[in-house]
């Protein structure tokens, strides 16, 4: 039961983009087309789950026993940066088609604050390893839901006559605001 709560809360109620404001850069940056949105979501899901597991183990097996909790930020970002490189290398070797689909998005992910944010949140919420996996996977799904919905709206927005000053970023931000407003409807669900 508590797993279902984690899933619903991470996807809808506390959506990582629309209510926690993490991952805004890819949200605005790669949302011009649905297909790139899907690719980015795949890459984020992949890296987020692996990164959460690895940083969780680093925290519990290295930082906590040796009283090094203040090194959390430094060690997590290094682990994530190294991991992204590693994933890129392995993917290139093991699964070229997957690499082709996700490759261009992987380097961008190091500076995607959702990954570091979810890693730190997992520790702050004091989840166990299984909960951490469920939490990170459903957060990534929530990210994908917001990103792909937004990309779909933006594709249609291209065809609309928008006032000159509002074209581009301003109208995109306002659309995101309305989307966030819609997601507020889920508040209180969990």
């Amino acid at each position: 039961m508590s797993y279902i709560l984690i899933v619903i809360s991470a996807i809808f109620v506390n959506n990582i983009v629309l209510s926690q404001f993490l991952g805004i850069c890819p949200f605005l940056g790669v949302s011009k087309k649905i297909s790139t949105g899907v690719g980015m979501t795949g890459a984020v899901t992949f890296v987020m789950v692996i990164a959460t597991i690895v940083t969780y183990l680093v925290q519990k097996l290295v930082l906590d026993p040796f009283g090094l909790a203040y090194l959390q930020t430094i060690s997590f970002i290094l682990v994530i940066a190294a991991l992204v490189q590693l994933v890129e290398i392995i993917l290139k070797k093991v699964s070229p088609p997957l690499y082709q689909a996700l490759g261009v998005f992987l380097p961008l992910i190091t500076t995607n604050c959702t990954i570091l944010g979810v890693a730190i949140m997992t520790i702050q919420k004091d989840l166990n390893l299984v909960e951490a996996v469920v939490f990170s996977a459903s957060t990534a799904v929530g990210f994908g839901l917001a990103l792909i919905t937004f990309a779909g709206i933006r594709e249609q927005l291209e065809l609309v006559d928008v006032p000159k000053g509002m074209r581009g970023t301003p109208i995109a931000l306002i659309v995101a605001g309305l989307l966030a407003l819609a997601f507020m409807g889920f508040a209180g669900l969990v």
Binding site: C25, T73, C113, L116, I120, T169, P170, I174
Partner: protein, 195 residues
């Protein structure tokens, strides 16, 4: 004169938030009040100035291939220092900013300046660049924070301007952040077109 230009470009011409659209997560996430925006802006400024300085000093010793990871370590060090100082002396601000303090590490503005400016310029001009960019960022966050606080709860820096039952609560919540920033950028685009 040149240094003055270097300093002032961060405020308007190359403002991180309004024109380059960098550092959007903290911009939207912490600006529910003007004071939070200002605190976040100043914390980022500190990290930006110090990391620019250190990167400019060590740029000749770092092999090109491990450039980015080295910059990240430098930045993460200063973020940890800010985190500790804030926790010790400004606990209420520390609680309000929460997760966004460690996330200064992945703020694209900081890494962006280290890579684009400090790794190519002298320490002195890197400090000035960091100061200008950082204060420009702080200015943008404070403006957005003030707008949201005023419209949302009728206050400005915690001072009551009008009773808060007339406030539009949505501006303090998530959707208001996007909408307020959207209109601010549209306004700035308009001003720029005229200028």
């Amino acid at each position: 004169m040149n240094q003055w230009k270097n300093f002032s470009k961060g405020f308007f011409k190359e403002n991180a938030v309004f024109t380059l659209l960098l550092g959007m997560c903290p911009t939207l996430g912490v600006t529910s009040s003007a004071i939070n925006g200002l605190g976040m802006g100043l914390a980022t400024t500190f990290v930006l100035v110090m990391s620019n300085l250190v990167v400019a000093l060590i740029k000749d010793f770092i092999p090109d291939k491990v450039r980015i990871p080295s910059f990240i370590v430098v930045i993460a060090t200063f973020v940890t220092i800010v985190e500790m100082i804030m926790q010790a002396y400004l606990p209420s601000l520390f609680d309000a900013l929460g997760l966004f303090i460690p996330l200064i590490v992945v703020n694209c503005v900081v890494l962006g300046r280290a890579e684009a400016f400090a790794s190519k310029n002298s320490p002195v001009s890197s400090i000035i660049d960091g100061l200008g960019m950082g204060l420009g960022f702080a200015m943008a966050l404070t403006i957005l924070g003030s707008v949201r606080e005023l419209l949302g709860s009728g206050k400005l820096f915690g001072n009551v301007i009008y009773p808060d039952q007339y406030g539009m609560l949505v501006f303090v919540l998530a959707p208001g952040a996007f909408i307020a920033l959207g209109y601010l950028i549209a306004f700035i685009n308009r001003v720029k077109e005229k200028a």
